[in-house]
Structure formats: structure tokens, C-alpha cells
Point group: C2
């Protein structure tokens, strides 16, 4: 797929009709195209939007995109922001326009989405042994010489399955793979020992359909993670690359890929990758952080590396979920009309942040979220908390990945509420 | 919207293109219409579907639909199956074709979806004070004389907000409302006391834009629910209807609505509603159970009323999520490629049920799910458990509502794996 085809596909998103598929959008916008609705620059609070509605902050999104561009540049890292977070091709494009190497993804379906919108370089941070998906990948590599695709391997059997699925395709280009080194005993996927890594690399070398291009891992799964343990794991990963290189496993490559980096330890990745020694060919030091794009008001606010390196900047939470108080059955309780269908709830419950009534916004003092039903927010109110049926409540969220995935078309609003864009997601 | 328009909209679902929007579907089906793909009757296991893929059992779906049709008929209940569970207009249609009165829903966006596909009678089991949604509702009632719409009220302020939003529309038809009686102190929405119910009903009587048509509640939120407490609450609900009727609050109606019933206590609803005395006009005894359509292998298997009345039948779990083992890093661990994006996880983790390898299916003996990442299933394997990279694992799920909402197009497969239909959801 050429860049132009991707740009066309992105442009076509603005031609989609606003209808029953997209919750939260103004019912009276039915039949307009997304582009026409955006051009109306409606206000999120007075423009006919229905609750619940999730909104992204235009300014904060831009700030976060710029901050990680600067951060990765400063640290000499290539960047494949993890696209599984947003699954929003418009954001993928903004990320690559800002110099990202490409997009990291987690499963083949996500690769199809990225490819449909012109992403040229994909790092699939997962094992891939699905025959149907491998056939599709081989065909896509064949069709587009500019498509670069890399995925994990962590077992000899996995290599054999890949080869068995790819051989019948007769594809001329091998599939590039990196050996995944596990983050420790009991951690997630990945080869547990360096000896096994060598065995997997041997298997790759024996498969004509595959090409070993580097090593990768995910420090976010280091057991009992702390800076020392995370650094130690990342040094093991680098040492594996060095050892593989010395063994001639990367002979003939133009570059060697070394990849790590979620959203909690990219400072450690920057540190350790800065110390990668000179190898036989240049090293692509590929960071894969994804949650930064929206950041959050919960887990990622707590674990962001910028807490350790505040001099390098700070991410800003870009999501706010707006719900309406529909019931106030007692002085201690209130209920809003957003639930598990609308808000992330896997890491923390939403946070009551602000109340809007008659155009005025104030802190949600004395109001807290105690639970979510499928379609209700349970709120506890302290004595004297001023909360009425009809009020809008602005909720902060924890976990970008499970916030994006509940909304297919997300208004992007400026600070004064003007909605300037709509972000389409594909989950 | 006429019935025909709804049928046309349903037919158009078969004309949608299979593409990157729909995960799990065969990559080589790209560009086919959904109807063309269905006509190919591909096999779920050998027809090129990519993992993870959620499938519905054709036979079990049919069984569950038939069972609740029979059950409600036998007990003299009208049925508004809760559509929030599936948000699948094709299933709504199968439900109303089987005699359901209409569809229950939870938020206005869901009403728009149902209306786009021709649902004529909607019971919104929630308060509705959103001005934009009320304007849309009023316009829809005006546009289609066959559209019947009922929603909750539980506060005088809510009634005032509804009236304020509806008055400027100049609509000729009032919005029908029922007073929601809360299931107890500390329960969810709903008026806490009978005295307050009367005050809310007085407010409705004073609002020209609203019409009081009955009472409703949700016994699923009875605190420390047991059969006695649930029966007691439902008797309070019936007594409220009787009291309102005696007070002349339903004068001029053709029928009085009394509604309750989730998926855990519909036997109690059948019992208590069978004892509703004769009122001034006939009573529409409206049951709202929704989870029955797919049932599940977890919470709903535990709480289904059929466990108490086995002589009336048994629901069958209709979902199975198929994922692929992508990593087997140690004798104790394995990882599949389905995660929080694919499986419900709010009530229970998925259940490892069966393993498929080379066309053979066997029980997943010694394999259990210990966690979900965004895109991974964590599996623990007992010594000797036969599980390899490449195997497919069939997972049972807990909670229909949070299973449906992770899939936009769900293959419906017969017992031998033949996919005969695709169910589209709108969340």
C-alpha cells in the first residue's frame, strides 16, 4: 500500500456518516459526514452531544505527541509507538508524521488496520503462528516492497509453524523476526534462557522463509520490577544482541533491531540502550511505548518515567469521560449514565473530577466513584456535596488501552469545548 | 420507522464489506460482503478464520431464544429482552419475531440503534434527562405513530428536566414513563420510599409532556438478595401499582405497565406477577431478562433461575472464544493471543474448555486461565498437560454483556464448525 493510498483511506474517514454506530455524538447530526460535523466546530457542552461521551483534549494530545517525539530524539531512540493503545489510524499517522519509525502492534488484526491506512513499518510485538494471518502477511509483503514487518519468535516449534505456513506461499521476501527474551521466570512470553535463545535463532537460520533481524523484550513484565531489576533485564537483552552479533547471526543485515519499552520504564530503556556497544552494523534502538498518547489519570500517571525524570517533561492526561447524573436517590448516593461499556475499569475505577451545571464547571468536591454497572456509575457523595440530577460529571480514567477500546469515534475538543476533530478507532 | 424500513436496514447488514473493521474473520475474505461470506459456509476451524475469534453456537442461540419464548408465554409475561446485552439488531429481530413485546435498553444511544433497525416498542430501563436525547426521542415519536417508548422516572427534578427539554419541541405525543421503585436502601437507581414515589407521580401528572403508565424496578439489585428478599421487593412493586391504580393515577390508559426482571430472578418475577390482582385496566407484565440469549459459562450459569426450576428447562452457554497458543515458555506456563480486548473479565476470568490440534478436539485437562493482559491470556499448565504452540484453545466466558461488546461481527457456527451467519453488534 502506497503512502497515497493510506492518505486516501484516512481522508475517507471524514466521509463516514454520523449515525447510530457512534455513541455520544449529537443525535441531530445524523446523516452529516464526520468531516461536515467537524467543520461545524460544535461545543462539547452545548452542541447537542449526548451523554455519556468520551472526549480527547486537542491540546494535551498534541503535547503528548510532541513530548515523546522530543524524548526519543534526545535519547537516540527510534520509535514505534504501540498502536494497540488507540487503534486509531489518524493517531498512527500523526505519530509517523512526527518521525516515528513505524507502529508497534500486538495481533495480526491490528496489522491489517494499520496497513489499510498506509502504515509502512510494523513491529508486531508478539509471536505469530496463525497460518491465515501469516499467509496474509506474506501476500502483503509481496504486494508492497515498501512494507516492513517484524515479529517475535520465542520457540523452535513456533519457528517451524511459521515456516510451514509461509513455505507454500512461495513468497520471495522472508518474514523478519526478532528473538524475544523473557523478562524473567514466570514473566509473560519470551525465551527464558540465553541458551534457548540460541536454539531458536538456529531454527530461524534454518528456515528460508524467515530472517533473524534482532532481539526484543518487554521490561514491563520484569517480576517485582524496580529500577535495578529492569536495568539488569535490559542489559541481558543488549548482551544477547552482542552475543548474536559476535556469532555472526546478523551477517548481511543493514541494521540490527534491539527493541523494548512500554510506558513505565522507557527511561531505563533509554539509559541501557545508550550503552549498546558498536556492533557489526548500525543498531535500530526501537522503543515501543504506547500509552503516552492519551496518558491517564490513574495507573500511568503513577508509573510514568517522567516522575523519575521531571526535567525531561510531563505527559498530560488527555481523556475525560462526560456522564450525566440521572438519579440522586439518597443524600449519600448518585448515579451517572456511564458504565463498563464506557469507562476503563480494569486497573482503577474512574475518578470524579469536575461537575458542570448551567455552563459552569467546578471541582467534584465530595463526590467519588464506588463502582460501575454495565451502564451506570455508582457515586458516593459526602454530606453537603452539591450534585443534582441533570449535572454532567467529568471523569478521569485509568488505562488508555481499555478507554480507547470502548469508543469508535471520539471527539477531540479544545480547552473551551470546541470540538475540532473526531478520532476513529478500529478494535 | 416502519417495519419494512427495519427489515431493509437488517438486509443491508449482509451487504457490508468484510474488511479490517472485523477482527477474527478470514483475511482472504477481504472485500466479500458479509452475505457472500455467509453463503460460503466456511468452517470456523479450517476456513481461514484468524485467532482470536469469538463464535456463537447456532443451535444454542436458537435453543435459548426458544426457551425464553416458552417460559414467558407459560407464565403470562410480556417480554422485553434487554438489548444492552447483545446490541445486535439481528437478535432483536429474532426476539420480537418470537413474540417479544419489544426490546429493553439502558441508554438513549441504544434506542437509536434499535430504531435504526425497526424495533417498534422500546422500554428504556433507566432515567433519561439528557436534553439532546429527549429531543431526538420526541421527534422519533412524532415521526412514527407506531413507535412506543417508555422510560423511568425516579425524582421530581428528573421530571422537571424532562418536561423542560420536551416542552419546546411542541411534540403532540407525551413521553410514557414508569416510576422506578428502588430495590432497597443502598441499591441502584429508583425512588426509595412509596411516599416519594407518589410525589414523583404527582410531578408527572403535572407535566403535560409526560404520561405515567406504570411502575418498574430491578430486583437484581436487592441488597443481600435471597428468594425471600427478592419476593418481598417485587410484592412492594406490585403493591405500588395497586396503590397508584386505586388513586386513579392510571385513569384513561389502555394498560398499566408493571416491569421487573433481570437474569437471576425471573422465576420470582413470574411468581409475584402471577399474583397481580385485577386492576382498572389490563396489566402488561413486562419481563426484561437479557443475558439468556447467549447465557454463559460463569456467573449466569451460577445464578440462572433454571437452577431452581430445572423442570422448566435449561439455558445453554452459546459463546466460545477461540485463541491460539503463541508461547509455551516453561512447563508451567503458556500464552494465548486473546486478552482483555477479546474476553469478558469483569466477573470471572475465561475458562479453559477444550484444545484443538490437527482437527481433533479434546478437553483442556490440566490447563487453566490465571490472568489476562490487553492482548494475552495467561495459562497455567499442570505437569503432563498436553499443550503446544499452535494449538487452538476454546475458552468459556462469564458475563454476556462484556463479551458481546468486544466483537462487532460474530460468526454463528453450527456444531460441526460450519459458519452459517454473522451477528453484527453496535456498541
Amino acid at each position: 500500500m502506497s503512502l497515497d493510498t493510506g492518505a486516501e483511506a484516512l481522508a475517507r474517514l471524514a466521509e463516514e456518516r454520523v449515525d447510530h454506530r457512534f455513541k455520544g455524538l449529537p443525535p441531530d447530526a445524523e446523516g452529516l459526514t464526520v468531516g461536515e460535523l467537524a467543520a461545524q466546530r460544535r461545543n462539547l457542552f452545548s452542541g447537542g452531544f449526548a451523554t455519556p461521551v468520551l472526549a480527547l483534549s486537542a491540546e494535551r494530545l498534541e503535547h503528548n505527541l510532541a513530548l515523546m517525539e522530543t524524548y526519543t530524539e534526545r535519547h537516540g531512540l527510534a520509535f514505534a509507538p504501540h498502536g494497540k493503545t488507540s487503534m486509531a489510524p489518524q493517531l498512527f499517522r500523526r505519530q509517523t508524521d512526527r518521525g516515528a519509525w513505524g507502529i508497534a502492534l500486538a495481533v495480526p488484526h491490528q496489522v491489517r488496520v494499520a496497513r489499510a491506512f498506509g502504515t509502512r513499518q510494523v513491529f508486531l510485538a508478539n509471536e505469530l503462528v496463525d497460518a491465515a494471518a501469516l499467509r496474509w502477511t506474506a501476500a502483503e509483503l509481496e504486494r508492497d516492497p515498501d512494507f516492513r514487518f517484524i515479529c517475535y519468535v520465542d520457540s523452535v516449534r513456533g519457528v517451524e509453524l511459521m515456516d510451514a505456513a509461509l513455505r507454500p506461499t512461495g513468497a520471495s521476501r522472508p518474514v523478519d523476526v526478532v528473538v524475544e527474551l523473557a523478562a524473567g521466570e514466570g514473566a509473560r512470553t519470551g525465551v527464558r534462557t540465553e541458551a534457548e535463545c540460541a536454539a531458536v535463532a538456529d531454527a530461524v537460520a534454518g528456515a528460508e522463509t524467515l530472517r533473524l533481524v534482532g532481539v526484543a523484550g518487554y521490561e514491563g513484565e520484569v517480576p517485582q520490577a524496580d529500577p535495578d531489576r529492569v536495568h539488569a533485564y535490559l542489559r541481558r537483552l543488549v548482551a544477547l544482541a552482542v552475543e548474536f552479533d559476535k556469532a555472526g547471526r546478523f551477517a548481511g543485515l543493514a541494521e540490527i533491531v534491539v527493541s523494548a519499552g512500554g510506558s513505565a520504564w522507557f527511561d531505563a530503556v533509554a539509559d541501557v540502550f545508550a550503552g549498546i556497544p558498536e556492533l557489526s552494523v548500525p543498531v535500530l534502538k526501537l522503543l515501543r511505548s504506547g500509552a503516552y498518547v492519551s496518558h491517564d489519570d490513574g495507573r500511568y500517571r503513577e508509573v510514568t518515567p517522567f516522575n523519575r525524570v521531571p526535567e525531561e517533561g510531563a505527559l498530560e492526561p488527555a481523556f475525560r469521560l462526560w456522564a450525566q447524573i440521572v438519579s440522586r436517590p439518597s443524600p449519600e448516593q448518585a448515579f451517572a449514565n456511564a458504565g463498563k461499556r464506557d469507562a476503563a475499569y480494569d486497573l482503577d475505577l474512574p475518578f470524579a473530577q469536575v461537575i458542570r451545571r448551567a455552563g459552569t464547571e467546578r471541582p467534584a468536591t465530595g463526590v467519588s466513584v464506588t463502582g460501575l454497572s454495565d451502564q451506570h456509575t455508582w457515586l458516593r457523595t459526602d454530606p453537603g456535596a452539591d450534585l443534582e440530577v441533570g449535572d454532567w460529571i467529568g471523569l478521569g480514567l485509568s488505562h488508555p488501552c481499555t478507554s480507547f477500546d470502548k469508543w469508535q469515534l471520539i471527539p477531540v475538543a479544545e480547552a473551551d469545548g470546541t470540538v475540532v476533530d473526531y478520532v476513529r478507532t478500529f478494535f
